[in-house]
Amino acid sequence: MKSRQSIEDLIYKSCLVLDDKNFGGYLELCDTAFHYAITAYSPEIRKEMIWLEHDREGMKSLFANLPKHNSDHSPLSRHATVYLVEEQDEGRKAKVTSALQVFKTSLDGGATELFAVAKMIDMVQLTPEGPKLLDRNIRLETRMFGIGYHIPF
């Protein structure tokens, strides 16, 4: 696929900008119809769960409100590996399946711990101007996050 490199760049860039808390930069990578979700399956209650879900505006509000909240400021480091890029909709879109590991590093001392393991399922809109994120589903394997976190993966 001609644009595979640009699609992979989009996925990796989306991780880097969030790591840098460059939320404006993240939103620039998203299509106006962007949809974001964090989902998981609970073996305990035998149900699919949605843990966070927003459209582009919702993500924008979430980011804008962050400074007003009390949060754990330990930085996250998102490590993605693109496994599959599948062309869809006659080449207008691509479904991208990536493995995602999220590491958390303490501010005091810099100890790093594995925070989350997930699959990242993206739908990418392929436009003449370049690929844009249309849909992102962070499909969690990890379901225990201790005190939690305010910034999406």
Binding site: I38, S42, P43, E44, I45, R46, K47, M49, I50, W51, L52, E53, E57, G58, K60, S61, L62, A64, N65, K68, H69, N70, S71, D72, R143, M144, F145, G146, I147, G148, Y149, H150, P152
Partner: protein
């Protein structure tokens, strides 16, 4: 004015009911006593009945007193609870958190049990035990079980305990009319936090910490009626907090809320703290249930459940999920702040950290920033423990003297 070491350790100038010694949060010996004198004596929520819809469905539960349990629905649809321990060689019987088992067979030596706790087969019984031992002496240890107050499954490991209804008493009055429709768990997650379970229950028992929550300040604290909410204490250490009208749209980015909850006024919020570590929290369109399971003096496992109505349409359920996640999900605005708060207490309150007192001294006619809810909890705690929360070592010191 800053204080020196002597002044720092001086008893707070409050009545003894209005502060506690932080040793009750950090002392391993006190924690072991709590398991025996508190958790092994009271009714505890193990799960919700909707997690066991069919005959032979089971659900495991780590009882805060220490016993591993499983709850199982029998062929007669009655829910019973047993130690998740094989009476033969002490192995775990059920490994998965949920499942369906008509016959519960230990993987170790294939002893089998039914959903009434009867031993129904000992492999090669006669060859090994002849007439000396048989199934009738090898039943599982049953634990008292009751279902109620919103369809929750309550357990009590004390065979001589009072009944569930005696334990709850009138504490559920504010919620009774809201819990009549069958409910269903749609959200479940666990969190382990390095803090004491009482500090988590305290957070659920006082609203003064709304200063920590931007969401609660903007939608609640600055809205009419906030300071009218009242605490009511009930026997056995339970307490409730009255409702108000939360103005959810005051938070930027909030979506319109239309589903609500049967009988709850729009924007209503009712909270009931059940001693020693369970909280019913009903607001917007969701009932949240916290179950605190202490793992040590400074280590706590919390089970979080979000419940909607069994009759929900997909659209209604989607709105409940959204309402839940905005503030209470693992990525929600409030839960992270609450957990960050008790995590910070856990960091500061450790043996030899120099922490000494926690003050519960606010008196505001039992309205929302009064700390009477916590005082009520510690009165019951002191009674069950035979230790005063403000002077937990007083009797031992007197004995030495």
């Amino acid at each position: 004015m800053a204080r020196n070491s002597v002044e720092w350790e001086e008893k707070p100038n409050f009545p003894s009911t209005h502060y506690v010694d932080t040793g009750i949060y950090t002392d391993e010996k006190i924690f072991r006593e709590e398991q025996e004198k508190v958790f092994n004596k009271v009714w505890i929520i193990a799960c919700h009945e909707s997690e066991l819809p069919n005959a032979f469905d089971y659900r495991t539960f780590s009882h805060p007193g220490g016993a591993p349990l499983f709850v199982v629905r029998g062929e007669d649809m009655k829910v019973r609870t047993f130690y998740n321990i094989c009476p033969h060689r002490g192995n775990t019987l059920l490994y998965d958190p949920v499942g369906n088992a008509k016959r519960i067979t230990c993987i170790f030596h294939a002893w089998s049990f039914n959903a009434k706790g009867d031993c129904i087969e000992i492999s090669r019984e006669k060859q090994g035990y002849q007439e000396r031992f048989s199934c009738d002496k090898a039943g599982l240890r049953e634990v008292k079980t009751g279902i109620g107050y919103g369809g929750f499954v309550w357990v009590n490991v004390d065979d001589d305990s009072c009944s569930l209804s005696e334990y709850v008493g009138d504490a559920m009055g504010l919620l009774d009319e809201h819990l009549s429709e069958p409910m269903e768990v749609f959200h479940y997650h666990k969190a382990v936090v390095n803090t004491n379970y009482k500090l988590w229950h305290d957070t659920n028992s006082e609203f003064y910490h709304d200063y920590m929550h931007y969401f609660n300040r903007i939608t609640g604290m600055i809205q009419p009626g906030y300071f009218d909410r009242k605490y009511t204490g009930f026997p056995n250490g339970h307490a409730s907090v009255g409702s108000m009208a939360i103005k959810y749209d005051a938070y930027e980015g909030s979506k319109k809320r239309g589903v609500g909850w049967p009988g709850l006024a729009p924007g209503g919020w009712v909270l009931i703290d059940m001693f020693p570590g369970m909280t019913y929290n009903l607001r917007t369109s969701v009932l949240r249930m916290d179950t605190a399971i202490p793992l040590g003096p400074n280590k706590l496992l919390i089970e979080f459940r979000g419940l909607g109505l069994k009759s929900d349409t997909p659209e209604q359920r989607a709105e409940r999920v959204r309402d839940h996640n905005q503030i209470w999900g693992p990525f929600g605005r409030n839960l992270h702040e609450d957990l960050l708060g008790v995590h910070g207490q856990g960091l500061a309150m450790q043996e030899r950290s120099g922490s000494k007192w926690v003050i519960h001294g606010r008196e505001e006619n039992m309205t929302i920033h009064d700390e009477g809810g916590m005082r009520h909890f510690y009165a019951e705690w002191s009674k069950l423990m035979g230790r005063k929360a403000h002077a937990p070592y007083a009797d031992e010191a007197a004995a030495v003297a």
